[in-house]
């Protein structure tokens, strides 16, 4: 029996799930958390810069990092939606290809 690796076109539902979990781990967990973790920059600023401008900068940086993290979530949701849509379309075509 062929596996997904032997095919030109097709999908493996288990493989898709695993793939999306892996992407999610990198983008939504590791990258998003790293982007939002500005503690080292905050420490460097707090130790060496004093003034309202510093507070503004750090507030803005937090807001921007949060925004980037939200964009990651939006991109991931789009990817999942598109992959599921293609997967469903392939499955439907496969079921309807040969009539009983």
């Amino acid at each position: 029996m062929p596996t997904i690796r032997d095919l030109n076109y097709g999908f493996d539902a288990n493989g898709v799930e695993k793939y999306l979990e892996e992407i999610k781990g990198i983008v939504l967990t590791k990258a998003a958390e790293k982007v939002k973790n500005i503690s080292d920059i905050e420490k460097a600023c707090n130790a060496n810069w004093e003034g309202r401008a510093k507070e503004e900068f750090l507030e803005n940086l937090k807001t921007d990092a949060e925004h980037v993290s939200e964009q990651y979530q939006n991109l991931y949701n789009t990817l999942v939606s598109e992959i599921q849509s293609v997967q469903a379309s392939m499955a439907n075509k496969d079921e309807a290809l040969i009539e009983d």
Binding site: N8, C45, W49, E50, T63, N74, V86
Partner: protein
């Protein structure tokens, strides 16, 4: 005592571009609107009871932002290594995946490049603003002292 407040300001308007960058609902189009001109994270304000930087500020700030940038880039490089061959086969799906990875990277690099620009600008401007204000303040104090001398 007259105190002249200097007018140096770091433009914050471009920062809005990041906050208004949105992703589209499909990877078949250009998923992320380009944001080429970067963001400025910082704008000067007035009213602080203490304002200034230490001599170590520039290098400490540079080190922290460089590490932050490097860590994020390392994580994102893992995306290239994820094997899709066990999930699906087909040119359209591969194109969608490539677009997704490109979009995630573009969002990230726009942000990181803007942070780098902000870092450079802050390193260059902050010292200049405080030093310039220091000169203005001493000039104001000098003319006040002259006026006081004239009075007596």
């Amino acid at each position: 005592m007259a105190i002249t407040m200097n007018t140096e300001k770091v433009d914050n308007s471009k920062r809005e571009q990041l906050l208004h960058t949105t992703v589209s609902s499909s990877f078949t189009d250009n998923a992320v609107e380009p944001n080429k001109s970067g963001i400025l994270f910082w704008r000067s304000t007035t009213g602080a009871s203490l304002a200034g930087i230490t001599p170590e500020f520039v290098s400490a700030f540079h080190d922290a932002t460089t590490t932050y940038k490097g860590d994020i880039e390392t994580i994102l490089s893992e995306l290239e290594a994820v094997d899709s061959e066990s999930a699906f086969k087909g040119a359209s799906l591969k194109a969608a995946l490539a677009k997704f990875i490109t979009s995630v990277k573009q969002v990230s690099f726009d942000y990181l490049n803007a942070l780098k620009e902000a870092e450079d600008l802050i390193a260059e401007s902050v010292e200049k603003v405080y030093a310039s204000q220091d000169e203005t303040l001493s000039s104001d104090l000098g003319s006040d002292a002259d006026r006081l001398s004239d009075t007596f």
